[in-house]
Symmetry: C2
């Protein structure tokens, strides 16, 4: 199959490229290196040393005997994107090519505008390229569970049947995104859903939980194939950050009460989910939504798990509550469905001490590279006067 991977130099994009290449697909990756540039701009870096894209690709060819193609450019550039799509004629497009950080989007007006510009206009451009050149291709777009927020009802997969005044319809599940990044993902969903309804494109939205893990079958083949691993307050997700903190003796930074519940999954399961979506494409005109996570945890549960697992192998770990820089509920109902990927055959790698131990071991190899300055949160959701109080007011509507 011809597969185009947007954001193919990233944490998930690069392992995804190797996975499909390994299986014999024709893989082209697109990237404009924005993640590497954002790190440069804030003087941070991946914990794992990662090679330049061309060197990674050469190493992969050496190890696997298989070639991944690369096209360098921005998907906001319509001419570039048209050219790539017209020349590679992908049957599946896997779209990781977005600004993926909530704290980044809340850092400043400039960063917020950049996030919505990059994500919304990039994806809109992509929909037009698909309509023009590959209207039958299957778009797999990485979404986020954060689109839903924390409603007081069970979260379904993309749609909900609503009975109202004696009539019924199945409609998009209401969204309460928790950052301007999350808003941009809701915008994407709205635009993609439109393109499926009006142009008959086929799309799968993978509303992903928080990903953790450092290794996949392919990255483990050779140190030169490592994927990036972020632990900084901007691009690091919570479990990855906790593991780094445990290794370097920094207190685990729980934001506020720690009761925030979210869905989580192993990076290995991300790859499998994308694979399952690829093998079972959406129909023409269908906007299919899968909730992509395997387990739910509170932040405190994760901190306890890491502290205990790390203690067992000799790390001295403390947990510290930091003032929550975000505006979010710290105690709330949360119950989200994740049945559809299980139905397609997903066999989850559940989180346990063994996984934490293997992450700690890998992180320990690179402990000299940890930049302490990058660990604690600086970006506040609400720099203004109503700090902390806004959310509860708003939920009264």
């Amino acid at each position: 199959m011809r597969i185009l991977i947007l954001g193919g130099d990233g944490y998930l994009g690069w392992p995804t490229a190797m996975r499909f290449s390994q299986q014999g697909h024709e893989v082209t990756v697109v990237d404009n290196f924005s993640r590497r540039r954002w790190h440069l701009a804030q003087s941070t870096d991946s914990l794992t040393p990662i090679l330049p894209l061309e060197d990674r690709i050469e190493a992969w060819e050496e190890v696997s005997g298989k070639r991944v193609e690369a096209r360098i450019g921005s998907i906001e550039d319509a001419e570039f994107l048209d050219e790539v799509v017209a020349e590679t004629l992908p049957e599946t497009i896997i779209h990781y090519g977005e600004q993926p950080s909530a704290p980044y989007s809340m850092r400043s007006r400039q960063a917020a505008v950049e996030t919505q510009q990059t994500n919304v206009i990039g994806t809109l451009n992509l929909l037009f390229s698909m309509q023009s050149y590959v209207p039958d291709a299957h778009l797999i777009k990485l979404g986020t569970m954060g689109e839903y927020g924390t409603p007081n009802i069970d979260i379904e997969e993309g749609y909900i049947e609503i009975e109202h005044n004696g009539r019924k319809d199945t409609l998009p599940f209401p969204k309460l995104p928790g950052s301007l990044y999350h808003c941009s993902k809701v915008h994407d969903s709205t635009n993609i859903h439109f393109a499926t309804r009006i142009w008959g494109l086929r799309a799968t939205d993978l509303n992903q939980g928080v990903v953790y893990g450092i290794e996949t079958d392919e990255t483990a083949l050779d140190p030169r194939l490592a994927t990036r691993f972020d632990y900084d307050e901007t691009f690091g997700t919570v479990l990855n950050r906790f593991c780094v903190q445990a290794v370097v003796g920094h207190p685990l930074t729980v934001y506020g009460g720690g009761g925030q519940t979210r869905g989580y999954l192993n990076i290995r399961d991300t790859l499998r989910c994308v694979e399952l979506a690829t093998l079972n494409p959406a129909d023409r005109g269908e906007f299919r939504v899968f909730n992509q996570f395997t387990e739910q945890f509170t932040v405190s549960e994760l901190a306890d798990l890491v502290a205990e697992a790390a203690g067992r192998v000799g790390f001295d770990v403390t947990i510290e509550s930091f003032p929550n820089p975000r505006v979010e509920l710290e105690q709330h109902y949360y119950n989200a469905s994740n049945q559809k990927l299980l139905d397609l055959g997903l066999e989850p790698h559940y989180l346990g001490e063994e996984l934490v131990h293997s992450m700690l071991k890998e992180i320990d190899r690179y402990r000299e590279r940890v930049i302490f300055r990058a660990i604690t949160p600086k970006t506040k959701w609400n720099p203004g006067e109503l700090e902390g109080g806004a959310l509860s007011v708003a939920r009264e509507t």
Copy 2:
């Protein structure tokens, strides 16, 4: 009260500016003349001759003795907008400053990107300016009933209480926008709702139906105070277009079956609704949604009404069904609530023959200015192979 009107040179913006000025408020209008430029680009024009903004403002001062201030620039320009907001310190901001045409947004990729860029980034910039300089100000944003689409259940005003698996929550009403313009308005709603929840801003979203009419109390005072009146396929709304067609002897252009039902209101009621929202501001942290229309009609009902009323005063009118350029349901359930503005005191001007007669009379004064080329639809929603068939597929999800 200090009132800032974004898009204050437009069809609704200019009469709104005069109305508030008449009542003694300090009014500043912001415009970048994009509507005038879009007309230039397509060689069309307002039916009514309209003066340059500075001349309108002078005429208004001559007629009323009151001064409206103008600031020329784009709200996508953060520096410009900050300056305007910081210097005028508005208590109410009325936001008409968007690309408002669904057909325009569906014309090409470039126009779609421009629409989402203008609307989403402009409004996002505005939210940041408010947060920085006037966090207590009240944002009144003109939305559209088109955000909801045509669901098979009653449409509520912004939110719906959902009972699901034994739990309840009141959540944003699900959206099924029917063009990339309508998508951009959904994006705006999502961003504004976020800013009220997280920053505690106050906002009212006026989900407006289709506006008709040519005259308000203030435009009637002097021909130099006329507001623009569009009848072309891009910027003309359906009833206004039908009236022009009736006057010039063009068949009334009903798209497809004509069973499309929407909410409508008189331009005089638009002004009154905006006034009611201004006088009764949203609370801090509140994102309040009003459905702003007074009556529901099918397109065929409107065509029949115009044909009959026009016939009665001597125009010879025919109705012709054109192939529908849009992808939309032509027969569907539609029942939307509009109670909240009535509760605040709105007394609707209902549509009747008298109103149609007065529009026909006004249009007849300018019949020599009608550009025939601009009347019939050219912009197709789905230029591709699945023409017309995409929507029904998508509704199966």
